[in-house]
């Protein structure tokens, strides 16, 4: 099944859409790539796209974000070139969330440095507390 994904960079990431596009061209995967101002759109078979996304994420794990897209790149039903200009429906949501990406990206990076939250280990019931429970009964 063909899937389409957006690859969107945080504005603070050192990776540019052109870097991602070049990486995809060089990877030899059979996918369709479209470079945009905010990232890259890729279209291809699900397994291929997922493998490619793993490689792309490794370029900047905390600064690259992935989003699903319903329509293939350049689809005349969505492409603004065929609809008389203006932003594509759905761009506004990406634009709004893009403003938060640097913060989320820094949060993910700091989590990576300090490690994920360590779950509190379950401790055995202290003997004293067990005695209290028995006496209560």
């Amino acid at each position: 099944m063909l899937v389409t994904k957006y690859i969107i960079m945080s504005s603070e990431s050192n990776i540019l859409p052109s870097d991602i596009a070049m990486k995809i061209y060089g990877s030899g995967y059979d996918v369709l790539v479209k470079e945009t101002c905010f990232g890259v759109i890729i279209n291809g078979e699900k397994e291929v796209v997922e493998a490619l996304i793993k490689e792309i994420r490794s370029l900047d794990p905390s600064g690259i974000f992935i989003k699903d897209r319903g329509f293939p790149p350049g689809d005349p039903r969505r492409c603004r070139g065929r609809r008389g200009g203006g932003a594509r429906p759905g761009f506004y949501m990406i634009e709004s969330e893009s403003k938060l990406l640097p913060m989320i990206s820094r949060a993910l990076a700091s989590e990576g440095e300090s490690g994920p939250i360590v779950k509190e280990k379950a401790r055995p019931l202290p003997l004293k507390r067990l005695e209290e429970i028995v006496n209560e009964g």
Binding site: Y6, M93, I104, A107
Partner: protein
Amino acid sequence: MAKVIVYPPTSMILSDLVDRMGHKALVVPEVVRKLATDNNIASPPLNVTSEEPKKGLRYAAVDVPSGIRGRMALIGPIIDEAEAAILVQDPGWLTGCAGCNRTNELVRLLIRTKGIPILDLSYPNNDAEARDFVQKIRKFLEDLK
């Protein structure tokens, strides 16, 4: 791996965080893709056939505006499929298929009455809130495993 519905259902940040943490995010673009890229387009351009309003009627009554029923035809089935939910309150800038407030109220109601684990959040405004946002999502998703 749990199927997690995110609200807003077109959110890039939430769907990315869910996928990144090893779960499946249920999002609207996936449903749109099934319709828009179907080999047998019965009703161009968007392939919305007479079946879609019928799906919408499962979630909203016939006297409810058609926009709500149309949106529910896409969002309703993924609510049925969801095993957990992450809801972001009052994002303030919902557009497109997530831009209808009445639909959003219905979506939130259906998710809440479904009885699945729910994480309520707000979008962060600073770095400390962003760290808290990411950690809460991670902890919630870890607990689902």
